[in-house]
């Protein structure tokens, strides 16, 4: 899909690693990337639950220092900014994309929208908390030199799960 291609390009501009995969190979991709037996701090979603990751990773909803991978499903992707959108009703839901060293985000292709307006017009009051994430955490506060992982993830990997036709 043309929109997806543009989205991938914007994400890459924003320093993200992007893979477009189909639903069937998603699990295998995650296992290859994260590694069997790894501890993963995650935010449950229907998609993530359906993958049956419990027997492969040590999944937890409680963070402690030393957990390397965070896993979450983004609710939307926005082409304009080349970023992900996470909706949250609790503060715990915000943490898997924030605390670990590497954030692995899943995004269903059908949830890619063009612009901010497309997102806001879909949301209903009362609004959830909304976080836009466009790339890994960054700073350039020392002599303007770019450093990734200022406080949050040093890396952002996005797996776009392609639509099935």
């Amino acid at each position: 899909m043309e929109r997806t291609e543009r989205f991938v390009k914007e994400l890459e501009n924003n320093d993200c690693e992007v893979h477009v995969v189909d639903r069937k190979s998603l699990k295998e991709n995650l296992v290859n990337y994260i590694g069997k037996g790894s501890k993963v701090f995650y935010r449950p979603s229907a998609l993530i639950k359906s993958l049956g990751l419990r027997d492969i990773f040590e999944l937890t909803e409680d963070f402690h220092e030393g957990i390397y991978f965070g896993l979450s499903e983004a609710d939307y992707g926005i082409v304009y900014s080349g970023g992900l959108v996470e909706l949250a009703n609790t503060r715990e839901e915000k943490l898997p994309s924030l605390l670990p060293e590497v954030h692995v985000a899943l995004l269903r292709e059908e949830n890619i929208v063009e612009d901010f307006d497309d997102l806001f017009s879909r949301l209903q009051k009362p609004l959830p908390d909304i976080t836009f994430i466009t790339g890994p955490s960054k700073t350039a506060d020392i002599e303007k030199i770019l450093v990734r992982g200022a406080h949050g993830p040093r890396k952002l990997i996005v797996f776009i799960v392609a639509n099935e036709y």
């Binding site: 901010f116 909304i130 836009f132 955490s137 506060d141 450093v147 406080h151």
Partner: protein, 459 residues
């Protein structure tokens, strides 16, 4: 009184700072230009942002009321503080109610404006700045020198020495390792802090939301991890609707750091059960600005820092010369409006009125016009001598005739030559006498800022 000339003289003796400021500002401008090239409707977005801000300024109390109502319905606890002292006491009361001893905080100009840190310290509450640049400046016991690059005046060597002496870091000059040290140091604080504080970039009237943009993730941490969150923000941050937010998000980062968007944008619209989120709305002179037909326009500022980056004076001396939390062209106006005539009466003259700030301002604030008016007020209050009045009038004449703007500075430079030779110059309130010291100050030279800017980009 803030002595701009003295501050500037001191800074100009430090080539490292002068160099760093110049590099930082020009870098941001270059990135801005590259980014805007990819936003074809940027000018239109600026108009729309301006319009949204005009709506708020035109019907301020109603928008504020709407925000308070919606924010309260969202579960936020909304407070209002008339001045800095009231704000400090309010914040202290909230912190005390939670037995807070340590606080983590993300960047907030408004917090600096009300000088909350020393106040909390004197009540035994330690507040850590968590934005890396702000953290460095805090450890150094200094003030930020640039709105988006607070520690730009310090070299990596200085930061390395600072961290190893004061925080026990194993000495390294590698920015990545220094950042990592700060990351780990502050990680420990986030999880243990009793409260988190932040500012807000926008307050959304029709949803009662507040919005924070950042790159590092420290604001997300400070607002999410501790048990209570206090937002400290000026009442001017209002925008009418969540549907206006995209426009502001599209102009803010490009005008500021030159990014298309910042890494993180957090929109808060609910207080989760069992968790207190306080919003402290601060007036501290803003309603006074609102009632002032000339100053009210400055309330539209979204604090992108663009006008500082493009200002030939700022590029030369950086933020410290302004002696205030608010620096650069718009900072002069804010400092005068918030801290008053006696403190800020020299500052309106720390400008060449070249108009670059007005050109870059994403909400099209006519900064030179306001500066000119402030000069008029200063001269009036200080009882300027005839020579000064003439000069001010010359400037006024130049600046209010738009068609003269382009050639204005050549004219101005001629005016300068005339006055330089006369003895009246000695009594001028720094308007030209200081500029004659800055030999390489460009816009008063024979070329306009635009011409110089084009040349500089070409080289």
């Amino acid at each position: 009184m803030i002595d701009f000339r003295k501050n500037a003289d001191r800074i100009l003796k430090d080539p490292v700072v002068v160099n760093a400021v110049q590099r930082a500002t020009l870098h941001a401008l270059k990135k801005r230009e590259e980014t805007i090239e990819r936003i074809p409707d940027f000018e239109d977005l600026r108009d729309r942002a301006r319009l949204a801000k005009e709506k708020v300024i035109g019907d301020f109390e109603n928008y504020l009321k709407l925000f308070k109502k919606n924010a309260t319905e969202n579960g936020f606890i909304v407070h209002e503080a008339g001045d800095a002292e009231e704000a400090r006491n309010l914040i202290l009361k909230i912190l005390k109610a939670h037995g807070a001893r340590t606080v983590v905080s993300s960047k907030s100009m408004t917090q600096e404006e009300i000088e909350i840190n020393p106040f909390l310290e004197s009540h035994g509450i330690k507040k850590y700045e968590t934005d890396l640049g702000e953290f460095i400046v805090q450890v150094a016991g200094q003030r930020p020198s640039h709105i988006t690059a607070p520690a730009i005046h310090l070299t990596r060597k200085e930061i390395a020495r600072l961290f190893s002496e004061k925080l026990g870091m194993n000495y390294t000059e590698d920015p990545e390792e220094i950042t990592n040290f700060a990351r780990n140091f502050l990680r420990g604080k986030y999880f243990k802090a009793d409260a988190g504080m932040s500012g807000a970039n926008f307050l959304v009237a029709d949803t009662g939301s507040f919005v924070i943009v950042e790159n590092e993730g420290n604001a997300r941490m400070s607002t999410t991890l501790p048990g209570v969150h206090i937002v400290v923000t000026g009442i001017e941050k209002l925008i009418p609707s969540i549907m206006d937010l995209p426009v502001f998000l599209k102009i803010l980062a490009p005008s500021s750091t030159g990014q298309r968007q910042t890494v993180y944008t957090s929109i808060f619209s609910r207080a989760p059960e069992g968790r207190e989120i306080h919003i402290v709305l601060i007036d501290n002179g803003r309603r006074r600005m609102l009632k002032d037909p000339i100053l009210r326009e400055a309330l539209m500022c979204i604090r992108c820092g663009g006008c500082s980056n493009v200002c030939p004076i700022f590029q030369l001396v950086g933020g410290h010369a302004y002696g205030s939390v608010y620096s650069g062209p718009i900072g002069i106006i804010w400092t005068y409006a918030i801290f008053g005539h006696e403190v800020a009466k020299e500052l309106p003259f720390a400008s060449t009125l070249c108009g670059a700030c007005r050109e870059i301002c994403p909400v099209r604030i006519d900064i030179p016009r306001i500066l000119l008016e402030l000069r008029r007020r200063v001269v009036e209050r200080e009882g300027g001598r005839p020579g000064e009045k003439i000069l001010i009038n010359v400037w006024a004449g130049l600046m209010t005739e738009p068609f003269l703007n382009k050639i204005g500075f050549r004219v101005a430079s001629k005016v300068q030559t005339v006055f330089k030779k006369g003895d009246k110059i000695k009594s001028l309130p720094s308007v030209l006498s200081s500029w004659t010291k800055f030999k390489d100050l460009e816009p008063l030279a024979d070329k306009t800022f635009r011409e110089l800017w084009k040349e500089r980009k070409g080289s």
